[in-house]
């Protein structure tokens, strides 16, 4: 039983990170109907920038809390700028292009960002500076750390803030209107370009936050880390019904928990035939099974009929 609880906790932490990244995908998809394949790289840049900024501040003798906040602030700002730039360079000129065209520019940008990161930070794994104290808790036989609590709490608060932004503010209303029908929204005086740019910028800020969390949780970072993380987060967004904010959050958490439970129990289930290195398979098998029965995700609306 304690293993079960332990895996639920681990899954919840991992799932919160997935959810934050998935929000970046789902916001852009909800408004523009395109997969921002470069989002995973934005998360990666967020992590690596934090390593550089916070690491050098700590080395300069600054207090850890200040260094952490400065690192987070700088990386959020840089990622926001990156998201804005991505939209301007790779997506805005192609808004009326065939549907697959922005997909290829997104892939191109993802290759560019990955290799830029490799030039700047090198090929090796980097260690993330310890920003949070290592405190262990125990609950009913399951162990968890202050970092895990921090990740779940902060991502929960961020998501609540995002929902408030989307459903309570004027910008949020403009975003929802654009998602429904850009042409009509613009007739109602919504500046479509600003709304789309805002979706990219907010999504990237969430990505940067997620990047910092990944860094604190796993304590290492690498220029290729964005790819798999982005893939899983995108899977989470689709699982929840892409374009749906609450769906992305629940999809992320669900995916994290399923993965953790799967990794924990696959050995027992298959009599030791399949080991925990099959962990990555669960995300996709669950996705395929869910989509077989709910073709537009758990909470998604019916989508258009074009490929």
């Amino acid at each position: 039983m304690d293993i079960f609880l332990q895996q639920i906790i681990n899954g919840l932490v991992q799932g919160s990170i997935y959810a934050l990244v998935a929000l970046g995908y789902t916001m852009v998809y909800g408004i523009m109907g395109l997969i921002n394949f470069a989002h995973g790289e934005v998360v990666m840049i967020g992590t690596l920038v934090t390593i550089t900024v916070a690491g050098s501040l700590i080395n300069a003798g600054m207090p850890v809390l200040f260094a952490g906040l400065a690192g987070l602030g700088v990386s959020v700002l840089i990622c926001m700028a990156l998201g804005w730039g991505l939209e301007r360079i790779a997506y805005r000129p192609l808004r009326n292009a065939p549907r697959l065209t922005p997909l290829i520019t997104a892939i191109g940008m993802s290759i560019v960002l990955q290799n830029l990161a490799m030039m700047i930070w090198g090929r090796n794994y980097l260690t993330f500076p310890p920003l949070l104290p290592k405190i262990n808790f125990e609950l009913a036989g399951a162990h968890f750390t202050a970092i895990q609590v921090f990740i779940v709490v902060v991502s929960g608060a961020t998501m609540a803030g995002l929902l408030a932004l989307i459903y309570r503010t004027k910008l949020g209303m403009a975003m929802r209107a654009t998602a429904q029908n850009p042409a009509v929204a613009s007739l109602m005086g919504v500046n479509i370009n600003r709304v789309i740019a805002a979706a990219f910028v907010i999504g990237s800020a969430l990505g940067a936050l997620a990047g910092v969390m990944v860094g604190t949780y796993y304590e290492i970072a690498h220029y290729q880390m964005g790819f798999m993380l982005g893939l899983k987060a995108f899977t989470a967004a689709v699982l929840g019904g892409i374009g749906n904010l609450a769906g992305a959050m629940l999809g992320g958490v669900l995916l994290g928990i399923i993965e953790a439970l799967g990794a924990g129990y696959i050995g027992d289930l298959t009599g030791g035939f399949l080991g925990s290195h099959y962990q990555d398979i669960f995300a996709f098998i669950v996705l395929i099974v869910v989509l077989m029965f709910k073709p537009s995700g758990l909470f998604g609306e019916k989508t258009g009929d074009r490929a």
């Binding site: 998809y29 997969i35 360079i89 790779a90 000129p93 192609l94 808004r95 009326n96 292009a97 065939p98 549907r99 697959l100 065209t101 922005p102 997909l103 290829i104 520019t105 892939i107 191109g108 940008m109 993802s110 290759i111 560019v112 990955q114 290799n115 830029l116 490799m118 030039m119 850009p182 042409a183 790819f227 893939l231 995108f234 899977t235 689709v238 892409i242 030791g272 035939f273 399949l274 080991g275 290195h277 099959y278 990555d280 398979i281 995300a283 996709f284 098998i285 996705l287 395929i288 989509l291 077989m292 073709p295 537009s296 995700g297 989508t303 258009g304 009929d305 074009r306 490929a307």
Partner: protein, 357 residues
């Protein structure tokens, strides 16, 4: 006028034939490495045309195409290598590989084809990853794929005693291994071009295009959309399987590394960048995107040396950086691809005149 013969197209065909025949000899002057690059360019043409059936004709976004290629490659590797001690001839393996890939395509397709657009994309992507993860891990408890180390010492393509590896003397010319594979691949590519051309204007091809443009309308005029979509998947997959078999034989080595998601994405990029659904465009896209990174490999380092006198940045990452930028720029200025089909170009013009949809 005879449909099959007019002097102008006959001249063009002859010119292309001579160029295709002579190309490996020209490339060989730069070393056998360039012939190998040519081989891969043709292999990618083959793959891109296979994917073109799925994405270009039927409009189904498939991000896991490489899985079928992997199935074909591993089929060849397992049936013609010392790994299981099997050395079956090409006549047996290639059809088995194509059939297995075809079955994989139907297996993936049948439960998922009711999905639309991007949902299908992510499911195919997931399928590709699942296949790769299995290939990476099926070395225990029973060693089937030999895990991340891959399978080595795979038999080359051979027709009877004629082997495609090593040098052969023919009509006083020395043909190296890569050169022989080149001619084999060109023959296969011509075959797939002909199949693509014939499909394009067939009943099936028109049904695919109808589904691509409007699935509901296609259903309404009596097209069995599910079967026709499955057929697109199965055909694309079998081409992938055949290409995979030739790849395994040519390399003599397969490992899961060759079948990453990035490969699927690259093949898709070839199709889209060249001009979806348009055969010459797809060929152009495949040739350009497979040769560009190699050309950059030889170009980037020396240019840096000439400009700055030393290596400023790692040439490997600079090469990929330029490649990524090229993808972005081409799509930015040619949104329908480098060489789109005339109809598509026209549609796009109309759409832009209409303004935002």
């Amino acid at each position: 006028m005879n449909k099959w013969f007019n002097p102008r197209s006959a001249f063009g065909v002859t010119l292309i034939a001579v160029a295709l025949l002579g190309l490996p000899f020209v490339a060989a002057m730069g070393g056998q490495a360039w012939v190998r690059i040519l081989d891969f360019a043709i292999l990618y043409v083959f793959l891109a045309l296979g994917l073109n059936i799925v994405v270009g004709y039927a409009g189904l976004l498939d991000l896991g195409y490489i899985a079928f290629y992997a199935v074909g490659a591993y089929t060849w590797a397992l049936l013609a290598s010392p790994h299981f001690g099997l050395h079956l001839p090409i006549w047996v393996i290639l059809p088995i590989g194509a059939a297995l890939a075809c079955i994989a395509g139907v297996l993936l397709g049948s439960p998922t084809l009711k999905l639309r657009g991007d949902y299908l994309a992510i499911v195919t992507l997931g399928f590709g990853e699942i296949v790769r993860i299995f290939m990476n891990n099926l070395n225990a408890p029973v060693n089937i794929t030999n895990g991340p180390q891959g399978i080595t010492l795979i038999d080359p393509v051979a027709f009877g005693d004629f082997k495609f590896s090593g040098n052969t003397q023919l009509f006083g010319l020395t043909l190296s291994g890569p050169m022989k594979y080149y001619y084999l691949l060109v023959a296969l590519a011509i075959l797939v071009v002909i199949i693509n051309l014939r499909l394009q204007n067939s009943r099936i091809g028109r049904a695919w295009q109808a589904i691509r443009e409007d699935e509901i309308a296609a259903k309404a005029v009596g097209i069995n959309t599910r079967n026709i979509k499955l057929l697109a998947f199965a055909m694309g997959a079998s081409f992938g399987g055949i290409a995979g078999g030739v790849f395994a034989a040519m390399q003599g080595f397969v490992s899961p590394e060759s079948f990453s998601l990035m490969e699927s994405i690259m093949i898709l990029a070839m199709v889209v960048l060249g001009g979806m659904g348009h055969i010459p465009g797809v060929i152009l896209g495949a040739v350009l995107l497979s040769i560009l990174p190699e050309a950059l490999r030889y170009g980037v380092g020396p240019i840096q040396m000439a400009l700055f006198g030393k290596m400023m940045v790692d040439p490997e990452s600079l090469r990929m950086l330029v490649f990524g930028l090229a993808l972005v720029l081409v799509m930015r200025f040619k949104p329908a691809g480098l060489w789109p089909s005339p109809e598509r170009k026209r549609e796009l013009g109309e759409k832009q005149a209409e303004g935002k949809a």
